[in-house]
């Protein structure tokens, strides 16, 4: 879309029109894109970098090396020393002249002492870089290449740490950090669900050649599940107790408890109510009838209270004196109690662990366990050659991840097609409109 059309006078009398296009939308970027000027600029830039740029724009210092005679290396010093030794009569002027002579000239002068290039590098590496070694241990940084290209030992620090402790006179505690924690979050331990076994050995009835007993046991469990499902009309997949009798027992006990609650407790509460009513009535009457106490009465009550206090104190002291002989009994009681508390704590821990290891609910959907896969007698193969594919391995692995609370159970969202609304006019309407 053309927005403007500007004209500019180049200078020769010709008028050049410059068209400006809108570049507001993405469509227009591709349509009216011309990268020629950009490419030209890039080429120029490249050339400049390669060639170093035009000579006219550069300063003299960049193009030429100006030898001010200030450079002095070791070979120069040795030359100077040699020259000193040879000619003792050399004056200071001569010395200065030698020092301030051009570098390029000095380079050409003969010198028996030639430094090797390697010597310099060796000198640098002579110093043992504690810092680098320490860094390597601290950060654990190694080559970024993966095992495919260049394999490496990821747990080499374990070996190093084992060896380091045996080195005498070396304190590496400052350099070596302790092993990193598995999880750097607030909770150092991994979630308990991970402790669940990843590969659970299957029921012996699922053997390629199962024994009658194992096969029978597997059939019994599935039969009981199906029977329970039919009774309670709960979909298959939920885990049921093995024996039906157990479930009946719980129902009966539950009903007993409800009966107890509903009927027996009610009768007790009714009794309490009647009692309360009486007491209220009495209290109300008492308040009306109560008169002022006499002093004698008050003194009598006070004496009685004092006697009661004395009796209580006596009893308490007597008990205290007898408790000395009860020490053994107390110890036994304490031991028993501690055992019971330990048992209770253990039970709580087991209960917690059990609840932690159960599949949890992370979203809208619940995890539905699959029923036990059991083969009918006709399907039993007995040989490896006759085995047919029964269970879906990949699906089982996926489900086991969900069971162990590593991923949440979810349903894949179906992509619903959005149809375009088409509008059309009926012929009858059109005909009427024409009329």
């Amino acid at each position: 879309m053309v927005i403007k059309e500007n004209t500019s006078d180049i200078g020769n009398g010709t008028v050049k029109s410059i068209r400006k296009f809108s570049r507001s939308k993405k469509k227009n970027w591709r349509k009216f894109l011309s990268t020629k000027d950009v490419e030209a600029k890039a080429e120029e830039f490249l050339l400049e970098n390669l060639t170093g740029g035009p000579v006219s724009k550069k300063a003299d210092a960049e193009l030429f090396v100006i030898d001010k005679g200030l450079h002095r290396g070791k070979y120069q010093e040795s030359f100077l020393q040699a020259s000193k030794a040879n000619s003792a009569k050399q004056t200071r002027k001569d010395f200065r002249a030698i020092c301030n002579s051009l570098y390029c000239e000095r380079m050409l002068l003969p010198n028996p002492h030639v430094e090797s290039i390697r010597g310099r590098e060796k000198k640098k590496s002579k110093k043992f870089c504690y810092k680098k070694v320490a860094q390597r241990f601290l950060t654990g940084k190694q080559d970024e290449s993966t095992f495919v290209g260049t394999p490496k030992d990821l747990w080499c620090e374990e070996v190093h740490n084992a060896n380091l402790s045996s080195w005498a006179n070396v304190n590496f505690e400052n350099f070596v950090k302790p092993a990193q924690k598995a999880f750097a979050t607030g909770k150092s331990k991994p979630p308990l669900a991970k402790l669940r076994r990843a590969v659970v050995p299957c029921h012996p009835g699922l053997s390629c050649n199962p024994s009658l007993a194992d096969h029978g046991r597997a059939l019994l469990t599935t039969a009981s599940q199906i029977a329970f499902q039919n009774m309670n009309s709960i979909p298959l997949g939920h885990q049921f107790p093995l024996s039906l009798a157990k479930s009946f027992r719980t129902n009966v006990s539950a009903s007993r408890r409800t009966f107890h609650k509903k009927f027996l407790m009610q009768s007790n509460s009714e009794k309490n109510l009647s009692l309360r009513k009486k007491s209220i009535f009495q209290v109300a009457n008492k308040s009306n009838i109560q008169e002022r106490k006499k002093t004698a009465q008050r003194n009598k009550e006070a004496r009685q209270r004092a006697l009661q206090r004395a009796a209580r104190r006596k009893k308490f002291e007597k008990r205290r004196s007898h408790e000395f002989f009860r020490a053994r009994k107390h110890v036994l009681e304490i031991e028993k109690k501690s055992e019971l508390t330990q048992l209770a704590a253990k039970r709580r821990r087991m209960k917690k662990l059990f609840s932690e290891l159960q599949p949890k609910r992370f979203g809208r959907l619940k995890y539905q366990p699959e029923h036990l896969d059991v083969q009918i007698g006709e399907e039993l193969s007995g040989t490896l050659r006759a085995i047919t594919p029964k269970s879906d391995f990949l699906r089982e692995r996926f489900r086991s991840f969900q069971e162990r609370n590593i991923i949440e159970t979810r349903k894949r969202n179906r992509q619903r097609r959005k149809y375009k609304l088409k509008e059309y006019e009926k012929r009858s309407f059109k005909a009427r409109a024409d009329e």
């Binding site: 050649n209 009658l212 007995g382």
Partner: protein, 583 residues
């Protein structure tokens, strides 16, 4: 000054948990990238105790994460890689649309890659931690090695899985670490012991790949798991090989004589094929060193010398197990699955070979006279050698589980095999039904009893028939004798009543009646039960109920076994009758 009001859900569970949407917003990642990151880093969603508080009063059930976990993820450098990958995709798409193929090539050559080494080190700081999580890793890698190239599972990944799994198998063979094997309808269950850790994994049967519906399995998710596990398995293999003084990547120095290739076109393919054959020993870094025999230390301060003895016995058994198939030579027929059997036989010191045309790496032919066992799964074979046993593959698995070479007669070709029992049963429980075949494996006397029982059953049938005839004759005689004795007893009683005086008579022998004794014992037991305190009564009742249930189950199974044996007896009788009639 007005005191600041405490905001709701600013502390407690509301402050510790974060919804997934909030996490995505904080990390600025898409849902797919977030899922991938969580899988790689080992971050899982959590279920709070009080959902309402954790969700800050919002209705419904949402996926929640710990706030600290998300903060931990924020510092992960992989996030930048994921964002680079997003930008890379955009650039590639644009270049493709504009048809700028030069830049497209440039982008594809310099694509961003994820490096997961530091994550493996973070999640498993020690080698033992990595070994503990090897079950999942191995099963998934073995599964993915059988896959063809699918949309979310590239060919490189399945090839890499194949390579790594074979390397691991070689390590197990060299370490002789395999302990248990079980063949189920799902696949082969293996259990190995490495550095004191038991590792159990499943290898599926080699059937053709079945396409899955996207609603059932998320392939992208599984391939993310595999991506992490392949890196982990690579490091584990490296460490294992170095601990066993083997070259990594594996090399072999032995060249089989049967290889007729005159010129090796591709050396890498040649080596990889022979490594995959599992038949060649991998070359070691230090030669000439054999395993030293480790003796178990005996501590005098130990309170339980029985446990030390048990440990010693167990160690001896394992030592014998490692050389179970030593000196034996096996030849595998075409119809038998090659890989699992080769792996198991080589783990226990045996030599294996197969048909040259089936797979590369066969070390000897079928005609080799030194072959001791030929594994065949056919009803019969035309050509058979006398110097070897022709057995079915189940013999190998059962021998490994029994930790001894089982008698071969039950596993011949065409024989009905005994049941393949699972070695993963918990033997610590007292009340368990053990079929007689399993008992016979542990007690050789029980085996003899089983055989004797079958023989005596046949004999007893014949004796019973004879006895029935004799009984019918005797019953007539007995009736006549009874009438005579009754008359004699009446005469004796009349004489004794006349003489009743004080006398010293010898004592009578008191005969113990067993049912009375048992009755008394039962009464005493009930009295003892009543002495149990009310506190412990519930626990006691549940214990007894559990015991009774287990006993009931065992009784049911024994009954079934008895009925089954009776049926078999009747069938044998019928067969014999038919045979007699024909003869």
């Amino acid at each position: 000054m007005v005191a600041k009001r405490k905001k709701k859900y600013a502390s407690g569970e509301g402050a510790h948990f974060m919804t997934r949407k909030a996490a995505l917003k904080k990390l600025q990642l898409s849902l797919n990238d977030f899922r991938r990151l969580c899988i790689l880093k080992g971050i899982y969603p959590r279920e709070p105790r009080n959902r309402k508080r954790a969700q800050k009063g919002q209705a419904g059930i949402k996926t929640l994460y710990h706030v600290k976990d998300i903060q931990f993820l924020m510092h992960e450098p992989i996030i930048w890689r994921l964002r680079d990958y997003k930008i890379f995709n955009k650039k590639v798409g644009r270049a493709r649309a504009v048809k700028d193929f030069e830049s497209l090539k440039k982008y594809l050559n310099n694509h961003p890659t994820l490096k997961l080494d530091h994550i493996v080190k973070e999640r498993y700081p020690t080698f033992l931690d990595a070994l503990r999580d090897l079950d999942d890793c191995l099963t998934l890698c073995f599964l993915f090695s059988t896959f063809p190239s699918i949309a979310h599972v590239p060919r490189d990944q399945s090839a890499l899985c194949r390579r790594l799994t074979i390397e691991f198998l070689h390590a197990v063979i060299e370490a002789k670490a395999l302990r248990k094997v079980f063949v189920s309808i799902k696949g082969y269950y293996y259990q190995a012991e490495i550095k004191g850790e038991t590792i159990t994994w499943i290898v599926p049967h080699h059937f053709s790949f079945e396409p899955q519906s996207r609603a059932e399995v998320d392939f992208k998710l599984m391939s993310t798991f595999v991506e992490f596990y392949t890196v982990m398995l690579g490091f584990i293999n490296f460490r294992l090989y170095h601990s066993l003084n083997l070259f990594y990547p594996p090399k072999f120095s032995v060249v089989s004589q049967n290889d007729d290739e005159k010129s090796i076109v591709d050396e890498e393919v040649f080596v990889s094929e022979r490594v995959a054959a599992l038949n060649f020993p991998v070359s070691k870094t230090s030669s000439g060193e054999e395993e030293e025999e480790v003796e178990i230390d005996t501590f005098s301060t130990e309170d339980t010398p029985e446990k030390i003895e048990e440990a010693k016995i167990e160690a001896e058994k394992i030592k014998n197990l490692k050389g179970l198939f030593k000196g034996l030579k096996f030849f595998i027929n075409r119809e038998v699955p090659r890989e699992p059997l080769v792996f198991i036989i080589r783990c226990f010191g045996g030599e294996v070979s197969w048909d040259k045309l089936l797979f590369v790496g066969a070390s000897f032919d079928e005609n080799d006279e030194s072959v001791t066992h030929q594994i065949a799964d056919r009803p019969s074979m035309d050509k058979q050698f006398i110097s070897r046993y022709y057995i079915q593959p189940q013999w190998v698995f059962d021998s490994v589980n029994a930790r001894q070479l089982l008698p071969v007669n039950k596993y011949f070709m065409g024989e009905v095999l005994p049941p393949h029992l699972s070695p993963f049963i918990d033997k610590s429980r007292d009340q368990q039904y053990i079929p007689p075949e399993e008992k016979a494996l542990y007690d050789p006397e029980a085996l003899e009893e089983l055989h004797k029982k079958q023989e005596t059953d046949d004999e007893s049938e014949e004796e019973e028939q004879e006895d029935e005839k004799l009984e019918a004759e005797d019953s007539e005689k007995v009736d006549e004798d009874e009438e005579d004795t009754e008359d004699e007893e009446e005469e004796e009683e009349g004489e004794s009543t006349k003489k009743k005086k004080l006398k010293v008579t010898p004592g009578e022998v008191y005969k113990e009646v067993p049912w009375e004794k048992s009755k008394q014992e039962r009464q005493e037991y009930k009295l003892r039960e009543k002495l149990v305190k009310n506190k412990h009564r519930k626990l006691y009742k549940s214990m007894m109920a559990g015991r009774q249930q287990r006993a009931k189950e065992i009784w049911l199974l024994r009954k079934k076994r008895r009925l089954h044996e009776e049926k078999q007896k009747e069938e044998r009788k019928k067969k014999k009758k038919v045979e007699k009639q024909t003869t």
